[in-house]
């Protein structure tokens, strides 16, 4: 390659400066530098800039970043119950369903009449529908026998009827429909409890995570501060040591001079 193509060619100049590029081209440029003062001065100037740039270093710091895998919440058996995984409308619907079923199971009755406002559950009163299955003739006969309390014979007949039914039903297993309804209610109640427990566990976990992050940040900052303080002390020690050494040299010099004069 002749000198006219090399002289002032920034492409080749950069390759030569960094030793990165076509080797023959760099060798040619090296030979050119011996003949061309302008290119030699350019290279010398840029090499000096590179040396100056070496003085620029970032301050020491504490890094130590780590990736820590948190337990995957999706793998949890009850992950689908998390509020974040369930839309608001679904949560509302689930809550309504639970309340409705609870009301149904308890047989809640709310009544407002002449005897005031009454709220009672099915567990505290006899089943009213049982009266409907009582024989009409028996009820009428009892009513005529005791005019003062017309409901008493009705009650007696109902009691007898229930006893008969219980006696018949006692050896047999409970009906599948009843069992199904009871199990379903129990499951739903258990699920509600699990929702609440999952929410509490999540809150606890988030609190612990935040606390850990704060502690880690404080620790990192403390270490960085300590490193900086240690560096400063080290430099100050060096500076003090240099000053002491200079004074010692000066004293030695004075002693030598005074000895020579004597």
């Amino acid at each position: 390659m002749n000198d006219s193509r090399l002289c002032g060619n920034t492409d080749v100049l950069m390759s030569y400066l960094y030793g990165d590029g076509d080797e023959q081209e760099r060798l040619d440029f090296g030979a050119h530098l011996e003949r061309c003062e302008r290119c030699a001065a350019e290279i010398a100037g840029l090499q000096a800039v590179r040396r100056d740039m070496a003085a620029w270093s970032p301050p020491e710091t504490v890094l130590g970043f780590r990736v820590v895998r948190a337990p995957d919440p999706a793998r949890s058996r009850w992950a689908w119950l998390r509020p974040a995984a369930m839309p608001a409308w679904a949560q509302l619907a689930a809550a309504s369903l639970v309340i409705g079923i609870a009301v149904g199971v308890s047989g809640l009755e709310v009544r407002y009449g002449g005897d005031g406002f009454v709220v009672r559950t099915g567990w505290s009163r006899p089943a009213p529908q049982a009266a409907a299955v009582a024989p009409a003739g028996a009820v009428r006969a009892a009513a005529s026998a005791d005019g003062a309390a017309p409901w008493r014979p009705e009650l007696e007949s109902l009691r007898e009827q229930l006893r008969g039914e219980w006696r018949q039903a006692a050896p047999a297993a409970p009906g599948p429909a009843g069992v199904g309804r009871t199990m379903s209610d129990a499951e739903l109640l258990a699920r509600v409890r699990q929702i609440v427990e999952a929410s509490e566990r999540r809150t606890d976990r988030e609190m612990a995570l935040r606390l850990t992050q704060v502690v880690r940040d404080v620790e990192t900052q403390r270490r960085a501060d300590m490193t900086r303080v240690a560096d400063s002390f080290g430099v100050l020690e060096g500076r003090t040591g240099a000053a002491v050494a200079q004074q010692r040299e000066l004293m030695n010099y004075l002693v030598r001079v005074s000895q020579r004069q004597q």
Partner: protein, 198 residues
């Protein structure tokens, strides 16, 4: 014998978090140095390093290995630095206040080997270099940082910046020329530097 980046990347993609932590340990210092020289602030640089590794970890399944892992990481870091500087709308390097403690930039261990004058001189030169670098356009500064401090080849920088190889060399030459002029003007450049050296 330590694992290569490629081996650690492969294991990280397979779900081995420890392998990725080894990559962090290997590359956090260079990435921090790059971020610091781009932003000029230690705290910002540390935030960017954390963000860069987090992004890399999340994007790791999409890393095809067409470029070196380090080049990919440098690219993520430079993008974050660019976003940061745009967001904060400031020059990358804040001028150091007058009367600042000269010991701040002295690296650990260097103090016992250097005299106070050396430390002051180096600190002064370092500040001038930082200021001069801050005046460069972002693409020239990135090219110089990657070449000068991280030893990437022209070809790697060209791929990282998405420009032809000749453009990288032009950016380097223009950037170095500006730096030379700035350092000469402050009397901290080559002329003074040559007199300082044995």
């Amino acid at each position: 014998m330590s694992d290569t980046d490629e081996e650690l990347v492969a294991r990280s993609i397979a779900g081995d978090t420890d392998s990725f932590n080894q990559l962090i340990l290997r590359w956090e210092r260079p990435i921090y140095a790059l971020a610091y020289r781009q932003t000029g602030r230690e705290e910002d640089a540390r935030d960017i390093v954390q963000d860069a590794f987090l992004r890399a970890f999340r994007a790791l399944p999409g890393f095809k290995g067409e470029a070196k892992f380090s080049s990919w990481l440098y690219r993520i870091t430079l993008n974050l630095c660019r976003d940061f500087l745009r967001r904060t709308r400031r020059a990358p390097f804040l001028p150091a206040p007058e009367g600042m403690d000269v010991t701040e930039l002295a690296p650990a261990g260097a103090a016992r080997e250097e005299t106070v004058e050396d430390v002051v001189s180096r600190k002064d030169l370092s500040r001038h270099v930082a200021r001069a670098m801050g005046r460069l356009p972002e693409e020239q500064r990135s090219a110089i940082l990657l070449k000068e401090y991280h030893g990437l080849t022209f070809q790697e920088i060209a791929e990282l910046q998405g420009v032809p190889l000749s453009t990288v060399k032009t950016r380097l030459y223009q950037g170095l020329t500006v730096l030379r002029r700035e350092l000469d003007r402050r009397g901290s450049g080559p002329a003074r530097a040559e007199g300082r050296r044995p």
